[in-house]
Amino acid sequence: MKIASLPLLLKNKNKLLVRFILAVLYILSSCSIFLLSSKTSGTWIEYCANEITNAVINQKDRDYLSVLIEPNKNSEKRLESPSNEFFLTYGAFGEANAFYAGVMNGDKKYDARINEIRTNESISFLYAYNFYNYEYKGHYIHEFYPIELKFRGYHDYGKSYYFCYISETQANSLLSEMSLEQTEENYQKLLGKKINITVDHTSFEYTIGNIYLEQNYYYETLKNNIGTFVISGGKPLNEISAQACYFMSEQVYKNKYFFDRILKEYSSNDFNKKVNTYNLGENVDYLSLNNKLNVDIDSLTKSDALIISMDVLLALVCVLITTFLFLFDLADNPYILIGTGSLVLLPYLVFYCLYSILKNVLFFSGTACIIHAFLFLIIFSEMIVYAIRNHKKQIQ
């Protein structure tokens, strides 16, 4: 069919039929974008992030759920250094939230206790090996973790990495055991003191390097996710692995970002990924979440390029259909713009309602929505331009 004959076609009695066919084609193309996009790796990650976000929200009295990653015993791959990974996550979404900590024994798998202090709970370790702390509002901050410290710190460890920063509560217990009062002078005396930490019946000597304050958002997040902890470097046992601990919050996009990072940086062949069951709230299906964490993302990304290319092609088809609809009809029927505008929005609204009811992001993925955002921008801008030109022509 030649282009020159199309306007003639529109002017005859089949105009309504042609408009109907074009409208159906548009709806099919737009719906195909939504359905195709559900198969991309990005959508799968978004789906998993939604599941984790719902799990966090369902906990009700907790703001976070933590994910622990450690290298498999036979793997030669290592985790990124805690300071590098921390700064990357810290810089990602601003400073008022906790997203990452490098830990050991975050899941309380091993029974670790400070011999000199009576505690009910096994301790975890916030893994660090740089301790050039800096001054902050009358006290001090750890070099990279935003943990507030009482003193600049004791650094005369010699070659030993077996230092630890204990909490103010632990320091008070220690002073109480030593029959000393809780004064600044006595706290200062604790620095450089040797204590013994027993891990699974094996004792290790540590030097107290500082006392950390139990305040601020970062401490609260750590406390809720790994319980009682000390800041230290050096593994107490060779069997204990360094763990990357990511905190999932109530924000889907942030969880999506970190989930994406977890799946792409830590392959399931080399790393063991799991939801930390310590202090996990009720109604959390952690087995299902663990399965999602250990998905092989490479197999999902293989078809991404093809799917997105098809989506873009379909979007172009949508633009052409809508342009054809109002361009060739505008002079005869100014109300075609309202009809075309409604048609353009219809599939988006339908899928939005489906998503609102079913709460399944596979129907309303970020990929499809972003493609539709560009689609709407192009189509509505075009419509405004042609409407204004048509209005001016009519005035003339």
């Binding site: 700064f87 990357l88 810290y90 810089g91 990602a92 979404f93 601003g94 008022a96 939230n97 919050s249 109530e250 924000q251 996009y253 942030k254 970002y257 929005l345 988006y348 609204l349 309303f364 970020g366 929505c369 972003i370 539709h372 955002a373 709407f376 921008l377 509505f380 801008s381 405004i384």
Partner: protein, 427 residues
């Protein structure tokens, strides 16, 4: 009887205010108030407690402007005045349903009101060059205040190469101060390139002062605005001689890049180097990550993601801040508009800017072209910061509105108009 008396009094007042000397006094009073307001904006509006000075000045200017606008018969039916009001109406449904940030809507409405008041004041003054002079004087007074306040830091030359050397935070956000300085530079540059009197060449000194203060803020946005203006503004002057235009633009850009390697500007150079390395992986010799650029990139992506899930009406004023869990804007005006007010709000806002630029181009006056420069800068800045509800944007919008209406080459001031009328009567 009473209404007749009031009508007579009103007519008497109108005749009195239309006398040439009174007209001149009114004009200069408004210019003074405009200059005072422009001084107060960067000096006080970002400081808790002091911002009431700005509100008081706006009320005084508003009372005068509206009263005089009625007396002098300013056209209240000018459709362009109400374009932004329609934008505010578009913002209401999503704000009521989702973000419920009614205070933000009120702020936007008050900013719109300030734009209208300034527009009325400009329309009564009617002289584009006098308005530019008033704005320059206001910004120069602020520059003096700035220099006095930061004299210790400025005289400590060794601190210039420090990566944390950024001035302006005691007044407002450094980028905001930089945008005020940019406004002064753009307006003065136009006056210098298209002078009517030789004294206007003195604006070169104010350009230098504003430029130096803008650089001390360490704002990358300031540099980008300057670069864009350097490319666009000379085009209006020497566009017919393309090779001269190309040489001028390339020379200025080369000078700017060379200047970045001077020790006092090393902080800005480092910030750009870190930005290019972080965002594009370009090897600039700078290994540190620019967390500011990294965050902006993520915030923009996040904003677009949130926007795409609520494309029809958006999430309301400050919707990104409310629903992202981030206590910050999305750092892109385009993304913020689409996230907060949906596809229609975003398209309408930019259609408004484009229409004003088109109207300014049709008017054809010298300073009408400055409107086009501002709109181009707005479009470029749409990717880097949120400006649809900032004070400096509404000052610029009031100028654009005014320039889009008037061509000083054709219209004289109210004083001259009155004189012509008197001459005609006598003849």
């Amino acid at each position: 009887m009473l209404s007749a008396t009031i009508k007579n009094k009103y007519n008497d007042l109108k005749v009195f205010l239309n006398r040439p000397k009174i007209l001149k006094m009114v004009s200069y009073l408004l210019l003074f108030l405009v200059a005072l307001y422009i001084f107060a904006l960067p000096s006080f509006s970002g400081r808790v407690g002091y911002n009431y000075i700005v509100y008081a000045l706006m009320i005084i200017l508003g009372v005068f402007s509206v009263f005089l606008a009625i007396i002098y018969g300013v056209d209240f039916k000018n459709k362009k005045l109400y374009w932004f009001l329609i934008f505010i109406l578009i913002c209401i449904p999503s704000t009521v349903i989702f973000s419920k940030n009614y205070r933000g809507l009120l702020t936007l409405s008050l900013l719109y009101l300030s734009m209208v008041i300034l527009y009325f004041a400009f329309t009564i003054i009617k002289s584009e060059r006098k308005i530019i002079a008033a704005i320059t004087i206001g910004l120069l007074c602020f520059s003096l205040y700035f220099l006095l306040h930061y004299r210790n830091q400025l005289l400590n030359f060794s601190s210039y190469s420090s990566s944390s050397f950024r001035l302006g935070a005691d007044f407002d956000n450094e980028n905001t101060i930089a945008m005020y300085m940019y406004l002064g530079i753009a307006a003065n540059l136009f006056a210098v390139l298209f002078p009517k009197k030789k004294i206007e060449f003195a604006y070169i000194f104010s350009i230098i002062i504003f430029g130096l203060i803008g650089l001390t803020t360490g704002s990358k946005k300031f540099i980008i605005c300057l670069v864009v203006s350097t490319i666009v503004i000379p085009y209006f002057k020497i566009r017919r001689k393309k090779w001269i235009y190309s040489v001028v633009v390339l020379s200025v850009l080369a000078l700017a890049i060379a200047a970045l390697f001077l020790p006092p500007l090393s902080m800005i150079r480092e910030r750009f180097a870190m930005m290019f390395t972080t965002l594009f992986g370009v090897n600039t010799g700078e290994t540190r990550i620019d967390y500011s650029s990294f965050q902006r990139y993520l915030f923009i992506r996040y904003g677009f993601y949130l926007a795409s899930k609520n494309l029809i009406i958006g999430l309301g004023y400050d919707g990104f801040m409310a629903y992202s869990g981030i206590e910050a804007y999305s750092h892109s005006n385009f993304v913020e508009l689409i996230c907060d007010f949906g596809i229609f709000g975003c398209i309408y806002y930019y259609w408004m800017l484009l229409s004003l630029a088109k109207k300014a181009k049709k008017t054809g006056g010298t300073f009408s072209k400055l409107s086009i420069v501002f709109v181009i800068v707005f479009f470029v800045n749409s990717l880097t910061y949120v400006f649809f509800a900032t004070k400096e944007t509404f000052v610029i919008l009031s100028l654009i509105l005014f320039f889009a209406d008037i061509n000083e080459d054709m219209v004289e001031s109210p004083v001259m108009q009155e004189l012509y009328r008197m001459v005609e009567i006598n003849i």
